[in-house]
Subunit: 339 residues, 2 copies
Amino acid sequence: MNKATIYNVAYAANVSLATVSRTLNNPQKVKPETRERVLRVIKELGYKPNAFAKGLASKKSTTVGVIVPDMSRASIAEMLNGIAVEARKYDYSLLLYVLKNEKVEEAEMLREVVASQVDGILYMNDEINEEQYALLNTIQDDYKVPIVLANTLYPYDNKLVTICIDYFKAAYEVTNRLIEEGRQHIYLLTTARKYMVNDLKEEGYLKAMKEARLTPRVVRTSGDISVNTIHFDELFKEPGIQIDGVVAVRDSIAVSFVNSIIERSKKVPDDISVYGFQNTKYASLSRPKLSCVDIPIIDIGAKAMALLKQEIDGETVDVKFNVLPHSIIERQTTKSSVE
Amino acid sequence: MNKATIYNVAYAANVSLATVSRTLNNPQKVKPETRERVLRVIKELGYKPNAFAKGLASKKSTTVGVIVPDMSRASIAEMLNGIAVEARKYDYSLLLYVLKNEKVEEAEMLREVVASQVDGILYMNDEINEEQYALLNTIQDDYKVPIVLANTLYPYDNKLVTICIDYFKAAYEVTNRLIEEGRQHIYLLTTARKYMVNDLKEEGYLKAMKEARLTPRVVRTSGDISVNTIHFDELFKEPGIQIDGVVAVRDSIAVSFVNSIIERSKKVPDDISVYGFQNTKYASLSRPKLSCVDIPIIDIGAKAMALLKQEIDGETVDVKFNVLPHSIIERQTTKSSVE
DNA sequence: CTGTTAGCGCCTTCAA
DNA sequence: TTGAAGGCGCTAACAG
């Protein structure tokens, strides 16, 4: 049962290969009678068009390149679930590129992705900077391959189609909730590495603090638990430190912080209220359960794929910058009750 | 700068296209002088061989199909990290197939994977059953495409190259540690769905219990926190229930169980000792920190890719069944101290 | 060491 | 509605 080709099918169905090709790609151009005969033979022989030959001849691959920074981040993995399900709807395949531990420079890699003949690119590296953004633009223009940024944004420009949530607003909102609780010494726990989305959260936090005339305190730490625990220890060593509220840019950082303060015999949320970001499994597995911003990450993935598909089909995407709604989930690390 | 072809390069370098092809694929067959000239032109033009044409002509794709059940499982995501890094070493690309929510039957999907001309398949659906195993064998034989099972095993046969850890032994060991602690009422918390690896853990647990002449108690629950919390509630409602030790087949189940019992004012590990499986981030983010079996999941991914590469290259893989060592990490949910 | 040439399997006009 | 034929960009003999 080895690799039937279009010729085998044509011969067995007593038609030319052109007809076989048509019944697969333009069924309406084939007489129903012969069409069914061909389809039957196709099934019998287990024929599947060779993707290479098809791609070479048609200049299309029904494959999209997916570029991610690191699979182990829960948000990335979940987004891929959304992307995969949506891609299936269009019969698109996913070519996965993981940037992690990459010595290869990104420009080189993007050319490689393009060379692999993908019809479009889903880019979700939220460490994006000006240079990379420019590079993506160049690639899109030079090779005419549409690119969509998923849960990744470059706020200083909007030439690339983007799907995201309003992180600025989300951070602004949770900070305000803490303020409404009466918290005065609210800290932002963010990453030391430059993630664009975290920068936006920081701005939202700063805005809320400024409006309330409170002094902002930003602590930069790592997503790595063993590292941030040390940071937290140092933080509490500072003489006269006061903390009664925390916004963490990731659930894992929030949970890890909660653990730190509970070990110091402080009460959550009586002494300190904490918000996380993302609503990952960490949030519901922690004790107390973490209050956090809920990001519809699967939907972001699905929507990203849908937008890309539109672009591939040549439908002009009128709105470049797409925002999905977030929500705030009150669990056990805050006192706010949702109205 | 649009899509240079091999002809453009040949023309610009004043050689034939064959020479260009050679400098890329068999550099030693080209005079260093011309080779460098060609390489320079290639660089100038930003030429990258069209993957389709290359694949069509060479019958190789340097792409492997990766079949996973669900991205959101931490183990799957981590394994992909390992696979990706290893694949990069060989300049292999990854074509990702997510089974989740799949209405398409698996046979159909596998043919699709094959039709996409992958050089090999990495299969990591640990819900594998006899039928699927047979199917994989058929695919491998019919299409001559090597398949490697990663962290997935079918213990009743070993025709397919497999890379895994000894889950049976691991479960046997942790159960014994609990027994050595003096625990008498040890429960196994496993999944209701049939995962082959979890079945093996169950057998290891049963063996240890039997040897110690203790009554085994198996509770089948879900990976879903909201669901298993309910199961745990029911469990504790049983009249006269006694639990002093737990082996959970997943970290998340273990953590969720620990939360349940602490809410019931029991002490961990004074009243109950708990072991998880995998050593995910959940294990270190929980409070108390979870003791668990550490699975070298990234290594499994990398090794799987390495094995597949061997098979693709025609090197016979002598050992079909490959086992990577695990270890037991004692943290705060058990009393055992590692010797 | 280099060039010529014949495909790889399929799509897509162009005729019939 | 169908068939014939050219070509997609590249690899791999085979000559030279």
